[in-house]
């Protein structure tokens, strides 16, 4: 182990010093103040703009905590699903269902487990918020880990086997690296999703009771509710600043770094130039060395934990423990199921009759939003696909745009629609659009980038352009990704429905008839557990039905027919 020698300290530069000072400042600020929780009714959150950096730090910490948990869960669940048939049979369907549940559906669970169990203490509420953010990140990431692990090329697996790779080394050298590209991509998406639902996560409310956590999301939400638009704008600006900073300092470098872990055999020179940060880091060797070592330590640690767990799983004495845990989990599930069934079997409240129609209306809105998304994302992705460079220039911009939570703009949009005397459905569709289109765009652009260069050249050589190019070159290539993206987009759409169909602005609530409004009312206004359960169950059923009946078969058909096999 290399010691901190004087020679290394001498190599430190001014930039190193700056970095250390910055980190120290952040730590100081964060721990200076104790978070406090206030019920909504009394004088609420301190909306003084100067509090914004602090709130930003809090929100960031919550996101980080949720992300760490999601990562741990994703690695565990994904590995188990990939390594054992029982695991796969249990986990994949479970993830399917969980992914279909809208974030508001987790409120009751969040409240019961974390807030009530901790007797309304600050810790409990924070845990609830972290849990809610976790639910918007974890399932996607677990899927991506599963996919990464099951698509490791067969000969690499055999080579690892012949080299007798096992335990920590296997995780560090084979399994974790294989997960990196998809995980980085999914992490970016997950964080974007987390920001999207930040407002919903930091203001936890069921019926009359509500808990407000200090953070950017609650800041923006409260300002909007109170009609303080200037403050809301300030909050939003801070959020955008945080997102842009994260993109520059974290996501861009990570994305560049993750390129090393792809299986393509392209030549060295084709790696895109290192981002600005790398150039900076080169001038701050201490920070860089520290980051590299820290990164290795973390990788080592994760590898050790993962290896220990997967090793323990294979031991004889772990079986009874697992059985016990499984029994406990099963008991909880059964209890939950019994409760749910009990709720379902009770005479339904009168509002329940509205569910089918509401579901249909919401579905139609989603359909319209989907069509609109396709209408602009396909041409854009098609245009991008013509040149390998365009995507590289477009993506950073798109990523930032996609991360900025449109949820904060909802009241503005609604106000605009009202002012233009348009139907509120317009705003509902537009708002749902914001929860759908980015998933489509990301997947389409990824497909555009993946088109083999010689196919592009063929298109250029044959003078293919416009609609012909779209039909013959781009669409076939992008079809599998289009379907994956559509699946995700509809998932995001269902989730966004809850926030789009019923919007609170300047003290009034504007809503259109739909399943999202029903859930919103049941959760925030009435706190009616039975109604909540009924609505969620019907939403989940609708999502699963669509997945099984439409997207899965489509994907199976498309991925067989349209593949660029070398």
């Amino acid at each position: 182990m290399r010691a901190w020698s004087a020679a290394r300290l001498r190599r430190a530069s001014a930039l190193d010093g700056l970095a250390v000072v910055a980190v120290a400042l952040v730590v100081l600020v964060v721990f200076l103040d104790e978070p406090h929780v206030l019920p909504r009714t009394s004088e609420t959150l301190n909306l003084w703009p100067a509090m914004l950096p602090l709130y930003a730090a809090y929100s960031l910490l919550r996101m980080l905590g949720a992300y760490a948990l999601s990562l741990g869960f994703a690695l565990g669940a994904g590995y188990w699903a990939s390594a054992s048939p029982t695991g796969r049979r249990l986990i994949l369907p479970a993830l399917d269902v969980l992914q279909a549940v809208p974030i508001l559906g987790f409120f009751p669970a969040a409240i019961f487990f974390f807030i009530r169990l901790f007797h309304g203490s600050p810790l409990g509420v924070e845990a609830a918020a972290v849990f809610l953010i976790f639910t918007s990140q974890a399932w996607n990431m677990a899927f991506s880990v599963y996919e990464s692990l099951t698509t490791i090329p067969e000969d690499l697996r055999t080579a690892a086997q012949v080299s007798r790779l096992s335990g920590v080394v296997r995780w560090r050298r084979l399994l974790l690296p294989a997960c990196v590209p998809r995980l980085v991509y999914n992490s970016m998406l997950s964080w974007a999703g987390g920001w999207y639902f930040l407002i919903a996560s930091e203001i936890i409310a069921v019926g009359r009771k509500s808990w407000v956590l200090p953070g950017l999301g609650s800041y923006i939400g409260e300002s909007i509710t109170l009609g303080r638009h200037g403050l809301a704008a300030a909050g939003l600006a801070s959020l955008v600043a945080v997102i842009v900073l994260l993109d520059l300092l974290v996501w861009s470098p990570l994305e560049w770094w993750s390129g090393r872990f792809r299986y393509e055999t392209s030549a060295a020179g084709e790696m895109t130039a290192p981002p600005l940060v790398r150039a900076l880091l080169r001038r701050a060797p201490l920070v860089r060395g520290g980051l590299a070592r820290g990164g290795r330590r973390v990788g080592e640690l994760v590898g050790r934990v993962a290896a220990a767990l997967s090793h323990a799983l294979s031991h004889q004495w772990i079986r009874p423990l697992l059985a016990l845990g499984a029994a406990g989990g099963l008991a909880a599930l059964v209890y939950g199921a019994v409760q749910t069934v009990d709720v379902l079997l009770r005479p339904p409240p009168p509002e329940a009759a509205q569910i089918p129609v509401a579901l249909l209306l919401s579905f139609l809105r989603l359909l319209l939003a989907y069509a609109i998304s396709l209408a602009w994302t396909i041409p854009l992705a098609c245009w991008v696909s013509r040149s390998a460079r365009r995507a590289g220039r477009l993506m950073p911009v798109v990523q930032v745009l996609a991360s900025v939570p449109a949820t904060a703009f909802f009241p503005v949009l609604v106000a605009l629609v009202l002012w233009l005397r348009l139907d509120l459905n317009v705003s509902a569709v537009a708002l749902v659009l914001t929860g759908m289109q980015w998933y489509l765009l990301f997947n389409l652009v990824a497909a555009a980038q993946a088109i083999p260069e010689d196919v592009r050249e063929l298109a250029r050589a044959t003078g293919a352009s416009g609609f012909f190019y779209l039909r013959r070159f781009f669409l076939p290539a992008a079809l599998p990704s289009l379907i994956t993206g559509s699946l995700t987009a509809w998932g995001g759409g269902w989730n966004a429905l809850v926030l789009s169909e019923s919007v609170t602005a300047a003290g009034r609530t504007w809503s259109v008839k739909g399943i999202g409004t029903l859930l919103d009312e049941a959760t925030y206004v009435k706190g009616d557990l039975q109604m909540i359960t009924l609505v969620i169950v019907s939403m989940v059923a609708a999502v699963l039905l669509l997945n099984r009946a439409v997207w899965r078969p489509l994907y199976a058909w498309a991925s067989v027919r349209y593949r660029f096999d070398a």
């Binding site: 060295a268 790696m271 130039a273 070592r293």
Partner: protein, 161 residues
């Protein structure tokens, strides 16, 4: 062809060509060589150019012949081949400029080398030139290259981490 540019030939295939050429003593037809090796002529071309550049083969009107040094290379073992290769390669303009830069600085960024080529060559060709230089330089053990940092390094100083 401008003498300053490196042909797109990898060391492995270049040596394979020398071995193949050595099988037929005396001048022979390039076309027949291409046939024997089952290589299309345009795949053979850069390899032949490389052999010429290093002074290992003469090519005249579709006929090739190994030079004295070329025969030496064909018969030599790996270590001797590297020595002969190194002797020729270090004199090539691109390689020489990289070596000069490395004499002054412990590491030279890829960007710097690319910029040096900018007046003469278009960017995609410049990338390929640098890649070839990396391949040749590594094999000749004249310098090393770190793909993570995209920079050239002196031999023996690479990858501390």
């Amino acid at each position: 062809m401008k003498p300053a540019l490196l042909p797109h030939a990898t060391v492995g295939r270049l040596l394979g060509l020398i071995d193949a050429m050595a099988e037929t003593p005396g001048p022979d037809d390039l076309y027949r060589l291409a046939e024997r090796l089952r290589l299309p002529l345009d795949a053979l071309h850069p390899l032949v150019q490389a052999a010429r550049l290093l002074g290992w083969a003469r090519v005249e009107r579709g006929d090739y012949d190994l030079t004295e040094e070329g025969r030496q290379v064909a018969e030599a073992g790996v270590a001797q081949r590297k020595t002969l290769f190194r002797k020729q390669v270090r004199g090539l303009p691109l390689v020489a400029s990289i070596l000069r830069a490395l004499a002054a600085e412990a590491s030279v960024s890829r960007e710097t080398v690319l910029e040096g080529l900018r007046p003469q060559v278009a960017p995609p060709e410049a990338e390929r030139q640098v890649n070839t230089a990396v391949d040749w330089g590594r094999w000749a053990e004249l310098f090393d290259y770190d793909a993570d940092d995209a920079c050239f390094l002196r031999v023996g100083e690479a990858g501390r981490e």
